[in-house]
Symmetry: D2
Subunit: 354 residues, 4 copies
């Protein structure tokens, strides 16, 4: 019997992607969607893509209909998840959180980067970090708890950290990266990453035909990347915006230690072993480099690897859909794992591009 699912913050881009995925999921039944802005409107009236697919109306965030859920997905800004999660957990409803509120293990780091107090420190230990390919036992732990009847909390990884860590982790964890050297992450996101709010930055006539960097030296995904890779203070992260809707490409330059191999096949084999069990990660062959278009609309990640010599660095590039593996897809994948389903249930879509 399908589990009942709700989406809080369903009218944002990640929320609507959750609606799209959950509407077609064999094991979840989408029963409640909320939006402070659109409460009362039928989703298909506001967004005609849902015509014939989803007949729900947006509710307010505190609507009692959420109480019927087995799980809620929080697609809300940071601090809003701090406020909402405890109540759901107390009522026995599991929470899959797409915000940043429970990602950083150390609340001091959260407070330093987000400039707000962390009001739910007790929940941090309970939360499982949701990047299944790299945080596997955390999810197994909460899956066991859930199987024992507990409401659980998953803090899904952010979009840039997901692509960046998938690209970097196997080399970092194998000890091949030069001690102390900075790791340079230049990543490019499509405009859905800037959110649904209409601003000058997201205006077609400013975003189209344009490339720009933003948040240089200050982006809040920096400490999350450093946490996953175990490299505090080592990451130089520069995000960029490019004129496409969905898609995120992270190019990670890893300076190698002197004795690290100079043969790209060594690295390709290492990465393929690392992602052997994952249905969503493909390590491309023959020096091929990933295209974001080939993974758009899916939960897949494609990784390409190359060496830069004589500088002796590994350049690892990962392409994902920022709303898919970078947000809603990953959240569903985490939910699948936690609730004992095949991890790819409802996530078998193929990109519209090739």
């Amino acid at each position: 019997m399908a589990m009942k699912a709700g989406v809080v913050g369903a009218a944002g881009f990640a929320g609507m992607e959750l609606m799209r995925l959950l509407s077609a999921h064999p094991d979840f039944q989408l029963v409640a969607i909320t939006s402070s802005e659109l409460a009362g409107q039928r989703a298909a009236d506001a967004y005609p893509a849902f015509e014939g697919v989803c007949d729900l109306r947006f509710l307010s965030h505190d609507d009692a209909a959420l109480d019927a859920c087995d799980v809620v997905f929080l697609a809300v800004p940071h601090t809003a998840a701090l406020a909402a999660a405890p109540g759901f957990l107390e009522r026995g409803i599991s929470v899959v959180d797409l915000s940043a509120d429970f990602r950083l293990k150390d609340p001091a780091v959260y407070e330093q980067w987000y400039k707000v107090p962390h009001t739910q420190k007790d929940l941090l230990a309970r939360a499982a970090f949701g990047l299944p390919e790299l945080s596997g036992d955390e999810l197994a732990r909460v899956a066991t708890a859930h199987a024992a009847g507990e409401a659980v909390l998953v803090a899904c990884a952010g979009c840039y950290p997901t692509a960046t860590s998938l690209a970097a982790a196997p080399a970092v964890r194998a000890g091949l990266v030069r001690e102390g050297a900075p790791v340079v992450v230049d990543a490019v996101s499509g405009v859905t990453g800037a959110g649904k709010k209409a601003t000058q930055r997201t205006h077609f006539c400013f975003a189209d035909a344009n490339l720009e960097a933003y948040g240089v030296g200050t982006h809040r995904h920096t400490p999350e990347i450093e946490q996953i890779l175990g490299m505090p203070g080592r990451v130089v992260f520069t995000p960029h915006l490019a004129p496409l809707g969905r898609g995120l490409l992270s190019t990670v330059t890893l300076p190698l230690s002197d004795d690290a191999p100079r043969d790209i096949e060594h690295y390709r084999a290492l990465y393929r072993r690392a992602y052997e069990g994952s249905p969503f990660v493909a390590v491309l062959g023959d020096g091929a480099m990933p295209r974001t278009a080939s993974v758009a609309g899916t939960n897949r990640a494609h990784i390409g690897l190359a060496l830069s010599e004589p500088a002796h660095a590994l350049v690892a590039v990962c392409a994902i859909d920022n709303l898919g593996k970078g947000a809603a897809g990953q959240a569903v994948q985490c939910a699948n794992i936690v609730f004992g389903l095949p991890q790819d249930a409802g996530l078998s879509g193929v990109s519209l591009s090739v």
Copy 2:
């Protein structure tokens, strides 16, 4: 048990969309794909979106593997279907043809517009025209034949004729259009409609940030539209190209007869009745106008209606995905009908945009 399906011409845009749809279809099993250009290559090597989805290699068009199919989809240029269809039918393999070769009932009209002889006139009567919402009993006829063990032939409607006829037919068939007046069709297609061949026209730097008309007064979809609407010589059809990949919008201006109603609700009710049984066609309310993005990647068609007074014309606008309802989606819908499946089997996807 799943029916075995093949795609001939699988490396074009419509062919790859068929691969995408058939790979995920519950009742078809994709067993053979052909491409003259890429024969021998693994599809997922050529197009990484198929990594983890489809492990087939492209075969040559005459590969014996096609003999194992229950049905082949022909995604080939016109004349190539004339050459290929008879052989499949003779071997008892049903054919769903996406080319123009069997669409026009009168071979003389075909020969006039396509400037080649029609070499399979005998098959024309046997072919069912595939635009399910408007040609229903033809498909029912061949469904019956197929149930009786016969290999059947479906000639799927073209992209512009599909969107245009869905927009125009209910008003035309209700006799509301002014006798003898020209019907003006201005339609805009995304660049996938221009095919996968790399040319100056399809070069990003010529297609992007550009609008243009093409084939004015000469486009071969004109007689197909006129055939569906029963209006020989009445349609002025101007296709345009715009900078998007998938999507087709047809704006049809129908001059109304003097006694036709001047109340838009009359037309909306008429259209809703006409498409009552169709899971794929939505007639939008309240003067809303369709967005191609909301149907991209799906088999859906959205229709918006407005009156222009005092000129007394109905403006009917239809949005489809030219590769979905305009090609591969429609072909799968036709196949579903012919083979006795629910017509939306394997076609439940939601657009990536909203």
Copy 3:
């Protein structure tokens, strides 16, 4: 000696295009720019493209610096020009108005379509309609008045009316269009046409990869087109939005009278004679169709012609830049004419695309 020019409403798209053109104009000196929103800010700080080009700060709309101008360009919404124009004229400052306030000769038509009272009916007779290729003696009249020391008022044509009328006028004026038949205008604009205000419609993620019609049957440019062509109640005008920044393509279907020629060369010759003296209008040859990209960033208009038989209609297609010939370029062209300069002064740029 250069004439002093001001731009009121300089921070909108048309206003910034005026800044761009006037900064490089040999005979105008841009001395004042206003913006209610950005008053006080240096233009180059708000919009870095002006770095090294224009060192002005945005002023408020009533700043006394405007009094030093010989001419002001009004790039403001309708009704704002009604409010502002009289004061400038009284102070002896000529006004080139890009809004709709003085375009329609009959104030009752204005009031019907714009739903507001026309508060400056006396100025309507004084205003010259600014579409130089089609309204020549009006501009000559005010040029004479200006030469005699009078402050003058020009009401520049709108973007859709400009492209549409350039495409339609020669055939209409030659009496070739079928009496009483509706003229169908389907036009497509880039997103700059929707204005600089950040809305869901102009959000990159809604505008990109999308086609849609809007304002069907109700767009306010309809009566302006009918006025220029002398065809009240005859035009069915459907504007569309496509995913590009600059560019407007108008496709006009003109049903021809029975005795109108069936040879396209007749029409091409007619159009070339009509635009013989114009440096900005090119009638393309050999059935070529115009590309908006080829005129983007310029004051040029490209026209393509084709016949649709047997329906016997002329399809005339015109491409312009909606901010160029459709707004700021045309305003500068009008100013050039009125002030006795070569009409292409400061307007010789070539499109960035080819």
Copy 4:
């Protein structure tokens, strides 16, 4: 009196941008354009943007009309300039070369990266490297030679090296970069950078809505960047392709030496001093980051600076138009300098975006 100029390879993107710039240049007269592919065609027939602007026909590369030139611009692939330059110089015609053939001072480096013999080693010493803001005395040297009546050779810098070096050079030359540490360059180009040849990579439907890296570890601009910065073997350069036509953004991460300042204002002041005399380079203030759209269609470069702490790296980002400051604009700027004109003659255009 205007100098007579020719463009060899005029039908490529850089060649057509040269045509655009030279057609409007006050001191050059464009007298000959060549194209092997389009020889015989009128430029305005092939590319309607030139209608009313340039009435020339494309000639073959060896047409005698080139002999009338004072200067030829070579917009040809590498090795073609090796073949063509000596003949022009012998006939007393100066050469401004946009290819890579004379950029690398050490022919062994050229041969290693381009895998062909360098057949004109004698000309290498004679050639001036054309990146005026960073190679000033070389251009002054050949300007003197030209003033003395000599035909001269300029090897214009490539697109990626221009943006990258403008971003990196002031910090590198001030000795602030950590000794021996790799300098990471991640740069993104629009599709014009991939050339006018129609290929799958440049097809709209593959390039649009997509991000990808290419040439990782192997791109031939690597040694050119290292030569300008004086850092052999230190640069890790990863170029990317994004869905826009014109525009190039280079993000350079410079690890700083321990005693380099930790105050961004220090770096901003340093960069502003370095580019004080340059009309084309602007160092943005207040942590602003450059937008490629704001420099598209111009010869400008915008630079933004930020520090990443605690990793202690300077992130310097430079935006140019790859066809402007990255190719044709820079070539005209070099020609201006060499021929004693103001360096911004004919280069005063403002971007169409803001």
